[in-house]
Symmetry: C2
Subunit: 479 residues, 2 copies
């Protein structure tokens, strides 16, 4: 474990969501927290950056096995090479993820304060949030599990609410913490309007502050099976290429949210009301809500042209997108999938993704660009008996030593330098040089340089599936 | 000129339209008549195929210079290698195109009957049309200029109408020709409903039948400037690679439709009412009208998924397209452009294309796949200092002998066989073989085989524009 004094707050970032309602941008293989949605940085990077500085320990990120290299790379890029990345063998909802984090931190420093955040929300006023954090931390040090209650700015029917009770009097940085009178499920519009007018109801933001010790105690009391599974997972855990890989026992944890497991039952719950410009970015409609609008109320990103369109959300990742005369519509264009729906039905995107999955469409869960520990690849053209990929290899990275039974490959370097191993040969390729890899040859690609290596791979053969790959040796433990 | 007896009808196909309202499928560089819209064959091919058989001479197609290889290739593919292709140096509307055709045919056989058709309309009942043609031909041989009047099936406000008068009594194949009482501009809905109820009003289909002699006489009388320019264009005309290239004088012709120039003024106009399932395919809304609908009234083509959508037109050329809950919307997806609009505003697509042109977007007028006399090419990937193209060369075709000042190229053959000339060398490349073309080398690509050649070209260099090409020799007269 990285060292963290009891005085330092440990940011715990939950990165297990799949963000299905933001399809086709967000997909299981590369969900929304890994995309830049509110700024130039990804939501995971923004979340980590909120807790940077002397008062904070390095972040602890809980994520799925499949996203491990993505998380590591994005954190490294954002200056968090010292982050601890905890891998769940399978997603088991927030209670189990938090239990594992509390167990890990609690081993050494039970008094350490954890600041638990979802990786997939946006905050426009980080200073405001940090001020609220001071009050929440004060409450946590008094043994509370404190949540952030967002003051409603509209009669939102899509969120759960918290009704606040008596003040705790921990007043810090202009904020106080309050008892929680009750948790409320998503209200109807009339109720949401009454909540907005009354001033005692807050949006449940899914951020929490508590010491590891308090969390462990309350999990023990209210969700002992969750805690037992998480503790066993930690005990069986292995350190692997810098990751903490939880053991298989973790999977025994019941799948339950921390709200249902603990918050709604403990007597230690508290809430700090605040207004940090929070959004859960739960659907394309919420991105329209928080987006910068043109004179006609449209939010547009990428190469988009509108003519007489109003109050639309239009995002294109590159393909020219023209909208004439539509109102209140969401249109999202990626290189391999397009989604169109009324803004009012943005929640139903999830149902469409289910339908596409059932139909076996791989676009439902995977992008054309595929991330690997060494970089990424992307299919750019295919035909009968051939396909063309663009491959990018990070400086210093190395693919597995491999061979194929059904395809030959041509590699043309278009940027950077490649070291190619082909059977017993080692060949250095510069920009604009190429190599041929006959069927069956044992080969390996490496970027020995200081800048990314880009090459165009032309595959020829009767079968071109990703599974025709025999890995003889692999730096990333995949052989 | 191909031989045509006075007894044979000469199909004259006007292929000068740009089909802007069917953007992004139809674009100036490859407009709608070259696309399959109503069937597996392109509209140009369908139009030519309507007039196949003993009674017909080979078709005469009038088109723009820029489309010459496209027209020739599509006609060849449809079995009309003997077609006459007349190239306009610039588009001058239908009167001038018809005048040029009449002048060309009229030189040898003034009594020949011309059947003038737009290349960009669909007919579902060709037999019905050919029956109407018999009556129209009979009227034409009596010196009439006969049009086809489509019996309305709905109160359409988007078409011009013809009011029929007294019968001519040429009765043939169950049809008769009638005097034309008057031409009417696009009506309002109430008027269109009255037309539909009354039974004397017909849609103006833009198909005409007349002898070359009658057309020349009436053009001389009502549009002498048009005829003079067309005649001069024909007189200056050159034969070039099988095309008839009209001379520059053609451009002096006033840009006017045959309706305004002649039909609305001549005393020889006649109309044959008929019901051949005609559509002008003028907009995406008309394609929805004629398309096969699912239970929710959606017309979908390509990889499209709908969920709760109704009465939509959704077409994708390959990218997965998902529509949730929209009604009466048009969504068209190509590999480089997306259009969305309400069906009721399908006419305004033209305005969007104007806007995109003004913004300098090349997608407004050009596709990613570019057609050349030898085949086609398509950009599939690009980055800083490189781009990747997929090139297809027709059997027996040959690119120009060329060199580049700013780029080197790798060619990898993925299908077929290539003969590559590189400086003094000649290299035969089979599938899965490659060649490197250093900057400045003189090279040429040829497909010596019997099947199409496909290769992947990887270009490297600081400047990769299409204009860095020095043509030293060219089979297609482009050097």
């Amino acid at each position: 474990m990285p060292s963290s004094s009891a005085q330092q707050i440990v940011p715990v970032i939950l990165s297990g969501g799949t963000g299905t309602r933001l399809w086709p941008l967000s997909r299981e293989a590369y969900p929304k927290q890994f995309w830049p949605l509110g700024s130039e940085r990804t939501m995971l990077q923004e979340t980590a950056a909120r807790a940077r500085g002397a008062g904070f320990a390095p972040p602890l990120v809980v994520c799925g096995e499949a996203h491990r290299f993505l998380v590591a790379e994005q954190l490294r890029e954002a200056g968090f090479a010292d982050a601890q990345i905890v891998l769940e063998p399978a997603a088991r909802n927030s209670a189990a993820a938090i239990a594992a984090a509390a167990a890990l931190v609690g081993e050494g420093t039970p008094d350490a304060v954890l600041w638990i955040m979802a990786a997939d929300a946006t905050i426009t006023n980080v200073k405001g949030l940090l001020a609220a954090l001071e009050a929440a931390t004060a409450a946590a040090r008094q043994g509370r599990i404190c949540t952030f209650g967002i003051r409603p700015t509209r009669p939102e029917t899509g969120y759960g609410y918290i009704e606040s009770g008596a003040p705790l009097g921990v007043a810090a940085a202009g904020h106080d913490a309050f008892e929680i009178a009750r948790f409320l499920e998503k209200p109807d519009l009339a109720t949401a309007e009454a909540f907005l007018a009354g001033g005692h109801h807050l949006w449940n933001s899914g951020m929490f502050v508590a010491t590891a010790g308090t969390l462990l105690t309350e999990l023990e009391r209210y969700a002992p099976e969750v805690l037992a599974a998480a503790r066993a997972g930690v005990a069986e855990g292995t350190r692997d290429l810098g990751f903490v890989r939880l053991g298989a026992s973790f999977i025994r944890a019941p799948s339950i949210s921390i709200d249902h497991a603990v918050m709604e039952r403990t007597t230690l719950a508290a809430v700090v009301p605040c207004n940090p410009g929070w959004s859960d970015v739960g659907s394309w409609a919420s991105l329209w809500e928080i987006g910068a609008k043109d004179a006609e109320g449209n939010v547009t990103l990428g190469p988009v042209a509108t003519l007489g369109a109003r109050n639309c959300f239009v995002r294109s990742e590159g393909i020219l997108t023209a909208v004439v005369g539509l109102e209140d519509v969401v249109l999202v264009v990626t290189d391999d999938a397009v989604l169109a729906c009324p803004r009012s039905r943005a929640q139903d995107v999830k149902l469409m993704v289910d339908q596409l999955k059932a139909a076996g469409r791989k676009e439902a869960t995977e992008h054309r660009k595929v991330y690997r520990p060494w970089g990424s690849y992307e299919g750019v053209a295919q035909g009968s008996r051939f396909q063309v990929k663009r491959i990018t290899v990070r400086p210093g990275a190395k693919l597995s030593l491999q061979k194929h039974y059904h395809r030959a490959e041509h590699w043309v370097v278009v940027a950077g330098t490649a070291m190619v191993e082909r059977d017993k040969e080692r060949i250095l390729l510069r920009e604009n040089e190429s190599v041929y890899l006959p069927l069956g040859c044992v080969h390996r690609l490496e970027n020995p340089g200081m800048i990314p290596l880009t090459l165009i791979e032309v595959q020829s053969g009767p079968y071109l599936g990703e599974d025709d790959i025999v890995r003889l040796e692999d730096t990333y433990g995949r052989a």
